[in-house]
Symmetry: C2
Subunit: 646 residues, 2 copies
């Protein structure tokens, strides 16, 4: 068999295996696999350099299936490369199988999970960035994209950043099969327009017939030598090779109706194996040596913004840990990652205002073993929610820092206020959610994040807060701090971040009124310090949670969770931001939101029955406000009470 | 004063007012305002047709400040147009002022909130779509964009969709001032490359000097007559006109240091007013008449997927309510919005695989009074989280439907499973979060959504569920359904969606064991039916929540919230998805996640002390599992227990 014949046969085998695997599973996307089979046959047999026996070899090329639904094709490639058996292939999509409906790192050499479209290419940018700027190894990153997913803006973020960073080690192979799930794509087979777009974004672009093996061969060679990130726009046919489904609408995401006939039409099963090229270059070991670092710490009583402590600590980590890298979404002077950028310019990556690419690049960098910290305003991390969700499925080790938490940012207004970030990150599988109240806590938690696997989120404050924690205190993920407490405590104030100061002030005033209040700083919102909270519940019976966040999903819910099966009656009141904030000073906004010392004191008195609510509300009204029955009612969803009238 | 002199003076006035307002506030973005002042002066005086006295006139043009941080410029325009006084201008950013740090609809004629970059243009696409396809009025949509925000992929989603829908009524004015917050943009002043990109995306593009008033005049005229969506790439200088800040780095987002001197340099304050042109065309009233609609209902006992009920009900609503429109992210055959598309093709908009543009278009459509329902897989709505967050600040009326909830989708794997959507939508200001378990419930809730203001989210199931609810039952936002119950109930099973069936089965088996269990279907997760839940807590003392969702932020947390100040001891156990799922059948995956009838029965017996846990766990282990202390520990964030071993 000559090269071309072998590749043609291999392409047919990949089609046959896609049909077999999805027929056996009773679901899957064979037609989306068949369009790209020739593209992948040529890649596997001649261009990919990947040692399937040593998937962790740092010299390996990387193959990312951005169109993750073409998993039958991917698994067919693994079989052809000898990485899995035919038996395993036929356990596709069955319970417990490593061959899930969409690829995940459970099956090597898969770097990251795909299946949410538009993510593989921006993650590929991160891997390619690692190759060019950090690993400095000549591996290549190949990303198979669907044409439908070019409608995702994240694809164009990837195009722009790849060109900006000169990632000539990155090749996007776009399978232009024209047909989406329900309809034709916006551009159909207009590969020239795709190419024009890629060129306008600074890429080298090639248009080709994706079923012409010589054209595919030539295109890969061109990509390898273009000196620029290169996109191949390959005109293909969905379901290619089987008349019943080829280029037919309505054939997306389902097994081929008559698989035996389809397989016969493709020439029957084959048993080809490919000797995939291995990376052969020698590696020079250039391991950077960790240096002594002076970690920052602050005197108790100093006023420091926790975002500043984040930046300073990250910079020190950059000294002691050569694997630490940082990225930011063009707000590094706000998040304080600018300090790292200045100290370690070679390990800082500016991702501009493109939060999806920001997180995707971090996921790509960690796939190569780099400890990536990515930062922006916490509110804007919502932009990357789908990427964070998928990062958990990728089993990624990801450190995210969001600054400018809550109404306490003040005059910039609600668009810049993170009020849902705790909820978003608590509901990420295996996450840690940290919201320190002072600089020393922050420093210790940033270091703990560096040591931790999985997804860790640090929420920092715009404004300065007084340092309360000594530099040698036991601050850890899962911990908390008793700010004040005694045996006589009748109520526990549970706070985090900026509300710790409000709770402390409230406790002072309550003490003057003869009410002893415990103050807990729950800087670790997830995992939360259940033992300390349950002890407080036992000791005081009443807990008031106070957070600069919407009432749902944040500190209050985390506290309620760990008291869910508490054996005795406990009263928990959640103080949180219930009305839509506006601009104002931090103090004005905390007062309007009802998360300041005044509201804490009033609520405690009201709960303990000691005194009238100074806001003039009846007990019923007050409970309704605190329980959130105002502002979330059906009739008044916008809750546009003029904050001045309050 | 001739036209050009007037416009020059007006531009200077806008600069002066930007400096004055931000100096008074002590914060804000005057330099980002000054670069676009000439562009906006010419727009206001000659091209914008907007009756500021009648901001709700449907014939008005729309002006969207996608670069919302240029709010001082925007408010300066409102002052020049006579919509606000100088006194109000100087209350910029003060507490309670309508002139927030970033524009919101609190100040007319603002359609939507901006301030998260990259959102104004895709929302403008929605407004322009309303103008072309629904209102059929010749108003124009002008969007002022920053150059930095073109790094957001959502901008390119907007470019692609505007061209696809032929929105020649849309003009993007890109203020290319070169400087971002911390650094130069990727393209700097390379306006030609910007234009090349826009053209490749199907737009007409004009490059110009944004301080040359004649060039600006010519460009607007060109935009009005190009017959295509048109982008102006205007080369400008940040801080234009004041030497201390003009084209200087480090001058972003802060008041000018010496405002008096800067104002003097600009020629001092002016008091110009602009007679902004009013839309003058006559409107033909073409109000569509509502038709009689046959709303779907199903017999109790039928098996129907709730997504199917969504599509059928939406289609009926389309008959009875001419203002209802639908959009989908290229999965309309999965979400069942395809039924609406078929019945009402003129009111259906295919948004392809671009969830940010999907939600943004819905926000734009509702700004013109259309009742937009947008659907895609629930998991992929995370892609639009930032747009949903901002929609709440926009006081938008938005209906979102997410299909394919939870592990119960089966073989496609975790990338397609929504496991965080309840948490995400609960933490949206003023939201309703609905998760019906059967078709009749779904139909009634979809109708309720149409009547409701604010943001409503409906979560639907991929698989069929039995119809339990009669078509005439009282199903409402904030309600719940007692599936079964008696005076003897010793435990309450609280479920929603697919877990209602598991709870029902568990209750049957518990009854056989002599344990009476109440089953509540909490189809309204927010607002939740607190009265019924509190009654159940009073009657049974033990509640078990069961949800096909991560443990955080969903049904369990909502239940705990409304029992937070319950006067007696209550035990709540949350069953939820704690390990990372894989592919498999729905039943296998629910069993592995511990949210099936088996686990419910076992947990109830264990809580009530009646029987040994059949999974062989010690009581402590079981509690740890249920409380989530496994799978979220610091040491094992990935929680990659092989699901087969369980």
């Amino acid at each position: 068999m000559n090269d071309t014949t072998f590749r043609r046969e291999l392409g047919q085998q990949l089609r046959v295996d896609s049909i077999r695997a999805s027929a056996k599973a009773g679901s899957g996307h064979p037609t989306s696999s068949m369009s790209a089979a020739d593209l992948m046959a040529v890649l596997l047999d001649g261009h990919l350099r990947l040692d399937f026996d040593r998937p962790d070899d740092p010299r390996n090329d990387h193959l990312v299936f951005s169109k993750g639904h073409a998993s039958p094709l991917y698994y067919g490639m693994l079989k052809a490369a000898g990485a899995i058996t035919d038996e395993e292939l036929l356990r596709y999509r069955s319970f417990g199988s490593r061959l899930e409906g969409h690829p995940t790192p459970r099956i090597p050499p898969t770097d990251v999970a795909t299946g949410s479209l538009g993510q593989g290419l921006p993650i590929g940018v991160g891997i390619a960035l690692a190759g060019k700027r950090l690993d400095r190894l000549p591996y290549r990153v190949w990303v198979l994209c669907g044409d439908s997913e070019t409608a995702e803006g994240s694809i164009w973020e990837a195009f722009e950043h790849a060109a900006h960073y000169g990632l000539d080690n990155l090749t996007a192979i776009v399978d232009v099969n024209r047909l989406g799930q329900t309809t034709e794509t916006m551009l159909g087979w207009d590969v020239d327009t795709y190419a024009e777009r890629a060129r306008a974004f600074g890429w080298h672009a090639v248009v080709l017939d994706g079923h012409d093996l010589d054209a595919v061969e030539a295109a890969y060679t061109e990509a390898e030598n273009s000196g620029r990130p290169t996109a191949l726009f390959a005109k293909t046919k969905k379901g290619k090779g089987v008349r019943a489904v080829e280029d037919q609408p309505g054939k997306h995401g389902k097994p081929v109706a008559d698989p035996e006939r389809a397989i016969a039409e493709l020439g029957g099963p084959r048993a080809l194996s490919v000797r995939v090229a291995k990376p052969e270059f020698a590696m020079s070991t250039v391991d950077a040596q960790p240096a002594e670092a002076r970690f920052p710490s602050w005197e108790v009583g100093e006023e420091v913004a926790t975002r500043q402590a984040y930046g300073e600590t990250l910079t020190a980590l950059g000294e002691s840990r050569p694997e630490v890298v940082a990225l930011d979404g063009e707000v590094s002077n706000s998040t304080a990652s600018a300090l790292f950028a200045e100290a370690h310019p070679g390990r800082y990556f500016e991702m501009y205002i493109a939060e999806q690419q920001l997180v995707a690049a971090a996921v790509g960098l960690q796939a190569r073993g780099w400890a990536a910290f990515a930062s922006t305003f916490a509110a804007f991390l919502t932009r990357a929610h789908d990427f964070v969700r998928m990062a958990a499925i990728s089993r990624a080790d990801l450190r995210l820092a969001g600054s400018h938490a809550g109404v306490s940012i003040g005059p910039d207004g609600p668009s810049q206020m993170a009020l849902e970030d705790l909820a978003m990150f608590r509901a990420v599988h295996g996450s840690a959610v940290l919201h320190p109240s002072d600089a020393n806590q922050t420093a210790l938690l940033v270091t703990a994040m560096a040591d931790r696997g999985g997804i860790s989120y640090l929420r920092t404050l715009r404004g300065k807060t007084p340092v309360r924690t000594g530099p040698d205190e036991d601050v850890r993920i899962g911990g908390s701090r008793v700010v004040r407490g005694s045996e006589d405590d009748r109520v526990t104030l549970v706070a985090c971040g900026v509300t710790v100061g409000e709770a402390e002030e409230a406790a002072e005033r309550l003490a003057a009124d003869g009410v002893a209040a415990r103050v807990l700083d729950c800087y670790s919102v997830k995992p939360i310090d259940a033992a300390t909270l349950r002890a407080a519940a036992r000791d005081t019976g009443v807990l008031l949670t106070v957070e600069d966040h919407w009432p749902e999903g944040g500190l209050g819910d985390a506290v309620l969770e760990c008291l869910a099966d508490f054996p005795d009656a406990v009263t928990v009141r959640k103080l949180a931001v219930r009305g839509m904030p506006c601009s104002g000073s931090p103090a004005e906004l905390r007062a309007a939101a009802g998360i300041d010392a005044d509201r804490i004191v009033a609520t405690v008195h009201s709960v303990l029955g000691g005194r009238r609510n100074p806001f003039g509300e009846t007990p019923e009204e007050e409970r309704a406000i605190i329980r959130g029955e105002q502002g979330t009612s059906v009739g008044d969803p916008h809750d546009d009470t003029d904050p001045q009238s309050g």
